[in-house]
Amino acid sequence: MTNEIVYDATVGRPLLDDAKMSMRGVNVFYADKQAIHSVDLDIGKNQVIALIGPSGCGKSTFLRSLNRMNDTIDICRVEGHLMLEGQDIYDPKLDVVPLRARVGMVFQKPNPFPKSIYDNVAYGPRIHGLASRRIDLDEIVESSLQKAGLWNEVKDRLHAPGTGLSGGQQQRLCIARTIAVSPEVILMDEPCSALDPIATAKVEELIAELSQNITIAIVTHSMQQAARVSERTAYFHMGHLVEVNDTEKVFTNPEHPLTEAYITGRFG
């Protein structure tokens, strides 16, 4: 069934009017191997978009090209136009450091620095020189932790090590750390796959709240999670973006047979 189907055009509604990030004709290669094939996609401002698809379909690769984390992989090459509010992020003249401050990232495994909770959150503001006085820094730390819904749990032990928190708390700490530099976009690569269901629920909750003024792109292996947290869902298949639609649509009545097959567990 899968074989006869063409997927070189994306069905659904990949393009938007109020896009925060716009990708056009994105190809990503690992050495000679093409991992992403001409993807066109807009990410709406202050929306949550979920990227789903079978293992190895290129979700992470695509996500990581959005803040040039792919730069760290020597053999990785990105083609096409990737724009953040109209600015090409692969412009050779562009400095990745401020880009990454604007487009933050949260990873699969919680990765707090082996420092105190305070220093974890304060790190970003420090390196970017966002707070000149200690009191400003304190404020940034507090508000970031507040936004990450962690303040009440940690306010009495800001100087305890961040690695001493539970997995779910660590992940929220990582989110707080990312928020601290006031990013406009946050990329999340399977942020809950190392967490138990309860911690997962809390992080999902957080995502919903953050999306009020941050654009979020989340890669997830759990279709249910995509269904729960996102407003739009993009389905990738072997490096192709097969379908993008409102999440409701994708989970009740997807347009593309491949999406349907994936959503309903019909691959083999």
């Binding site: 984390m69 990873f107 990765n111 790190y123 690695t163 990312t178 530099v181």
Partner: protein
Amino acid sequence: MKTIDLVNKNLAKRYRKEKLFRAYGLASIGFGLLCLVLLFSDIIGKGYKAFVQTNIQIEVNFDAGYLGITDTTNTEQMFAANFEGLVKKSLREMFLIKKRSDKRLAYSLVSTDSGYQLHDLLVANPAWLGTTKKVWLLADDDLDTYYKSVDNLNGAFTGRMQEQQLVWIKNLLDNDALQLQFNMNFFNLGDSTEPELAGIRAALMGSLFTLMVTMVLSFPVGVAAAIYLEEYAPRNRFTDIIEVNINNLAAVPSIIFGLLGAAIFLGFFGMHRSLPLVGGLVLTLMTLPTIIITSRAAIKAVPPSIREAAMSIGASKMQVVLHHVLPLAMPGMLTGAIIGLAQALGETAPLLLIGMVAFIVDIPSGVTDPATALPVQIYLWSDRPERSFAELTSAAIMVLLGVLIVMNALAVLLRKKLERRW
């Protein structure tokens, strides 16, 4: 037959094999530990006596006339005075010697250094001039050997003592004029052909300077190289070569580095032989791969997630390295460095080839003074025929091992202290 019955059938045989295998393992460990104990007890058994020395008590008349000294503060007079003759005279008087042949035997009971000892005593006690004092003088190494073994051997062992000397010694023993005292010379002096005057100070200082050079050069360079290779270098043919290279260098026999030192530093650059500087350079080249490898391992042990985390909030490469990677890797790097240096400290072969195998009496005072190193000293002494030198060698080994143990303990402590497992 049911599966479980088959399983039960073979069970006894399987358990016998299990026991046997375990016994092999335990025996191996036993063997290893036995060797360790043997080695240590052997060295300590041989060497502990070197820390004391036999002294002889002699009655000396500091006759101002004989010595020609009027003022003990006058260095020229003191220098010119015949203290050696005084020692001999005192010996003759003490043993009431007439025969010429006996004189030589008597003289050889005390160290050749005795004249200087008297000189120093007089400098320290000017009031002694003109009086007769009983003073302790260093015994000769043959007497030393004999005296140290006299209890164990019940007189059967004579060493290199002559009949006549044995009589005198008996006499001395009866008068309590033979005594073991702490061997200061061992720690204060440089090498000497006379065992009782040989010390490890020069070698120790030589080792210290060599090690300093090694440390100052190898640690920063090694860490920098490790950072470059782990964090910056692109993965390509060239860095692969560097990597393979370093791993190979770490396993290249140390003597090859000696050859390198001999050919390049001595032959090509024309540096002087026997310098701690050259030794340090050679040992640097030798330890560098080790330090690079342990540093790289320490850097590798820093989870990549930390780097990604820092990078994803906009830290630059250098910030990632300096703020995160380096602090986290530092305990590992330091431990690696100390262990590398400990290795360098015990290294002998390359130093032989660059001439740090000289007979050094003077204590070196800098990296450009000719010097030898402690292990080399051990090697040199182990070749000397005198029995006392075997003792000294063992003692030097004990010192060397002591230093090494301290260094390794330091490494362990450091790791424990710095390694904050958050």
